[in-house]
Symmetry: C2
Subunit: 193 residues, 2 copies
């Protein structure tokens, strides 16, 4: 994975799933709880589409302990023996306390700041298209795709990003995909063959 995956994509791709700061149904900023299947499904999609690292972001110490216990089971414990393909996917996952920490870790590891692109089901201004992202990756930029849980990313996250990705459109106005589905579709639109 240290080599470029294809000639079309020289930059590395990172994912961050934020459990804070995100909104609840009433629009309050909250910490959401970890969902086991988010970690598994997104890690498996990440592995399928050549993502370099997937960060699960929460400020909660107890949620870090829970995540690390899940990861240990599948990477160094019995789970890894029982299901090596799950191990391969979950080895991409790391815990982080904040989006700022993720950005620092990436910059420290690769020596350059990634392009930070948020995802949302809502149409807003300053969106970037799937095509433009592909072009910037081909030019060697690294990409950090940020996904929210709960009712979406809080306003303060929008202030820390470069762009918002164009929303996924289905056949009508309904736009309530799970974050697991949204990650899968976005990675396939960017990197699927």
């Amino acid at each position: 994975m240290d080599k470029p995956i294809s000639k079309e994509r020289c930059g590395k791709v990172y994912l961050a799933l934020l459990h804070h700061p995100v909104l609840n149904k009433n629009g309050d900023v909250v910490i959401t709880a970890l969902t086991n299947l988010d970690v598994h499904d997104i890690a498996r999609a990440a592995k399928t589409y050549g993502v370099y690292k997937f960060y699960v972001v929460t400020p909660s110490e107890s949620q870090h302990r829970l995540l690390n216990r899940i990861l240990a089971h599948w990477t160094s414990g019995f789970g890894g023996e029982y299901n090596p393909t799950r191990k391969a996917a979950l080895e991409l996952v790391s815990a982080a306390y904040s989006l700022d920490e993720v950005k620092k870790k990436i910059a420290y590891g690769s020596g350059k700041r990634p392009l930070v692109v948020l995802t949302s089901a809502k149409k807003r201004e300053t969106t970037i298209s799937f095509g433009s992202i592909g072009k910037r990756l081909a030019e060697g930029e690294d990409l950090l795709l940020v996904f929210g849980t709960g009712w979406g990313l809080a306003k303060e996250v929008h202030e820390k990003a470069h762009f918002l990705l164009e929303p996924i459109c289905g056949v009508g106005e309904y736009n309530h995909l799970s974050v697991r589905s949204a990650v899968s579709i976005i990675l396939d639109r960017l990197f699927g063959r």
Copy 2:
């Protein structure tokens, strides 16, 4: 939904998620257990991409009771009041006992047999491309996409289908997406904008 969704797609699209006959890790034919998030995620993706009906298929009476309890909560119970978008998605879901029952129900409802297309992560012969499916839908054929749980659809299901859909390719050889991700990506490849 009784009208064609777009001029490109005159036929109706149906999904079936099979809990039997499917394989376990050792290749035995088993009944898998219902996964709550499969029902939610696939129903939400189905609603997004204009699927007409999503059948959850299991021969187990107790699993039918469980499924109908989940559906009742979200469609006629408190869940539907609390989250109307979830209600809209889960209204597409029905329980069925077998793939044969699904095929009969569709033929009874629409007066014609659907094109039955299986999905699999493995490459096999007699595959149909995403493009060919789109063409046949445009010509007015109905489509039943069949997904497996566990370690995939049993051999006897392959004998009841017309085609196998070409597998989803990521960037390498890893092909272990969750069924939730696979449904989302396939619907997006067929109908996303």
